[in-house]
Amino acid sequence: MIPGPFDYQVAGSVAEAIALLDQHGADAKVLAGGHSLIPLLRFRLASPAVLVDINRLRDLEYIQEADGTLHIGALTREVDLEASDLIRRRYPILADTARVIADPVVRNWATVGGNLAHADPANDHPATMLALGAQLVATGPAGQRLIPIEHFFTDSSFETTLQPNELLTEIRVPAPSERSGGAYLKLERKVGDYAIAGVAAYVVLDGAGHVTYAGIGLTNVGPTPIKARAAEQLLLGSTLDDAVIAQAARQAAAEAQPVSDLRGPADYKRAMVETLTMRALRQARSRATGGA
């Protein structure tokens, strides 16, 4: 499996990357970790005229908390997310996610930005970011704009609302409040595989234990990453007891749009959304209330 021909340019700075994208328009593709793009090129399923390599932009690799927000540089490698003490401590749902993406060798190069920008419904970060209510920073010739994650994906697989001359430069996640917790659970055929189904759940509780924020994101059970809005609504204001969790889990399953394929029949996947939502919410509850 050999890629077809293309040109290659290295970007020395974000500005240069954007200039190159602006110059080549839809003919160009950003090359980040390359672990989605290069396999596509090898199967000749993508044939960009030029690749703009952003791997030298070290200033896009960072994980830091500031002003009540977690800032993740788009070029941050999964391995760094997984290993980050800050992430493990304060954002275990992100550590959960990074840990189950692909395999450790892939995670050395695959980037968080690429995982989102690829808009593959099978990728794991989209669900987590949907659950967390992340915001994405797109940088283009006219400067930066903020895209709420639910406006980042379109109705089609592998499509985002980024303009061809925009680079995804940062992912922002609200810092956790005192009583908040989340979990990402993924069911896979074997380790390293894309999800049969995956569920990210994130909740914020008030002092009385009532849910003030609920986020549920679903992986690989539809043409795009899915935000289970109705299930989230069910949780709001509740005390997150087992009954409401079960109800929300059923609702999330109803919001899934799985199709039958090599990862199992649609009814199975839908049922797994229920199982995983239930388990993820229980774990989120436990984490929000001081457990692991």
Partner: protein, 791 residues
Amino acid sequence: MTTTSAGPHVHGLGEPYKRKEDARFIRGKGNYVDDIQLPGMLYADIVRSPYAHALIKSIDISKALQVPGVVAVITGKDLEAAGLAWMPTLSGDSEAVLAVDRVLYQMQEVAFVVAESRYAAADGAAAVEVDYEPLPVVVDPHKALAPDAPLLRPDKKDRQPTNQIYHWETGDRAATDAAFAEAEQNGVVVRQDMYVPRIHPAPIETCGCVADYNAATGKLTVWMTSQAPHAHRTLFAIVSGLPEHRIRVISPDVGGGFGNKVPIYPGYVCAVVAALKTGRPVKWIEDRTENLTSTGFARDYHIHAEIAADKEGTVKALRVYTLADHGAFDAAAQPTKFPAGLFHICTGSYDFKHAHVAVDAVHTNKAPGGIAYRCSFRVTEASYLIERMMDTLAREVGKDPAEIRLQNFIKPEAFPYRSALGWTYDSGNYERALRLAMEKIGYEELRREQAEKRARGELMGIGISSFTEIVGAGPGKHFDIAGIQMFDSCEIRVHPTGKVLARIGVQTQGQGHETTFAQIIAAELGISPDDVDVEHGDTDTAPYGLGTYASRSTPVGGAATAVAARKIRDKARKIAAYLLEVGEEDLEWEPGRFYVRGSPSKGKTIQEIAFAAYTNCPPYLEPGLEAVNYYDPPNLTYPFGSYICVVDIDRGTGEVHIRRFLAVDDCGTVINPMIVEGQIHGGLTQGLAPALYEQLAYDENGNVLGSNFQDYLIPTAMETPRWETARTVTPSPHHPIGAKGVGESPTVGAPQAIANAVVDALAHVGVRHIDIPITPWKVWAILKEKGLATA
């Protein structure tokens, strides 16, 4: 054959001698086919059919020829003109090398592009334009037999007017039917349909070759990923018409075979044609997708099995009907005289008085193959069916699966045992192996735990497989490739300084022959394996052999080696007698040395004798110290074992977790326990794979699903349990050192232990069978149906 405490330390039989071949592999200095680069070498790429069944209206190669770097494009029409469009398969069918007017499966070879680089070849292949007219596709083998099914092989309609390749029966039908009639009246009959799915050996190295034709000398050299270089040389000679002594096949280091590298594939033939045509060496290396979709699949047996037993569960008769899906060409790489290979070993470890087996094989629009994936020609299918059926019988009569086995085993004193389907089992003690497995794993305790868990609503299962293998093809009277009987060979040269070069007819793809065969010789001659180099795989230097598969290396090649070494020792005795001026009968042997009986200090070491063989040889003997042996085994060998698997099932997801897996194997005399253990670990993992993960599925249009490692699920270290092993030793009485061959037992024996464990976990709610691979969704569907699914 053990070492003595006196004398030099000899790494003979039974010692975990570290592998000699590792030195190059751990340094990245192996020499695999794709590592070979010859001056002026061209690279090839293959244009393949996107359709499972279609007519080829036209092929336009003009654009491809304009791609920079492309040197030539070969089509089926070109081959046809040279009389090379078809080649014989190992099962007497003919297979298209490149499709001429029709394609019969997705990914079938249509054109062969050669270019200055891999990249140019790929570009060239992408530029070949083929116009197809799709035809109706036959995917389901049952439908292949329907009267209105399209005839898939019009090329041989004179010989075979339907899609049915053969119908074959063996055993005593009348007696079997009578036993069933009796059991229907006074005993029990259990029946089960089961499908052993199409899978692929998928060695991590794919297939490939480098073909080099020297026009000046007329010699063709082909480096290829071959498990049987000599047989391939002979077949090349037959196909191409080139004289056999001008063909040299070299199988260098091979990155795993497992049966995948036994057949000859179109790519090899095309590379040879291209080398002849261009006058330059040509390399063809498959990519993984091509490997999985077009080269030797395994299994694909639709089985219906029935057991007749008395009310106590004592088996009386076995009746089996199987529909075998052979794909577009009958390329089953099986050298037996029986159409379904050794499938009629399916009475397994049990004392059936009567049995009958019928098999129909058909063509479908799928890739050809039917190779023995780490097993001997359909033994895995046979063992799977009988081990599943014994569990079904146990449920029917309300007995524990262990008890039903112990009750029905062939007894140790019954060996050599003649089975109802005509095999003569050499030796065995099945009860000892099962009892050891039960004791080691704590069977009774596990059953208690299971009962407690069941009471709490948790699902846990324990599965047993007490399989019997049949390995070591020949004997020549039963087995041949293109008429060549399945003996094997060894040639030993002892140099004047006592160092040894041995060349063997079998070949290694990781089994460690360079070490184990050196150990066999070392043990026979009483020297260090370090002093023995073993070469293999080059047809110009190695003696003729039939290759390594079906666990035949040790039983056949190992025997040849032991016998050749004994010939050396016999001659050494004569020389020693001459040197010591005594009669041969006055000499005693101890490892490494002959000495005069009664005066142990008077003796000659094998090294001294070797030197004398070249410097001071008795006048009545030929000088030198060499021996050759071609060994045709008197019988097959029958390794066996008992495996026990413990699984836990997640009621929320249907996932099966293997908690423990214990394998007790008996492969007779062990040459190198470290290597045997390694073979068992690997084989178990290849038994786990089809049980839970692997399948080459097809959709209704004949598209291959699971065509790459993203979807063809090879277990990683995370899915693979920490295998536990133990051993009993029941030597083969007819093998020179009592060895039986082990490489494949675990692959044969493991799947049903796992399947039985999962079914066992669900047996209390009436589950009797789940087809492999047992995916979480299959389990979950059952949990749901039985009201056991939770979140």
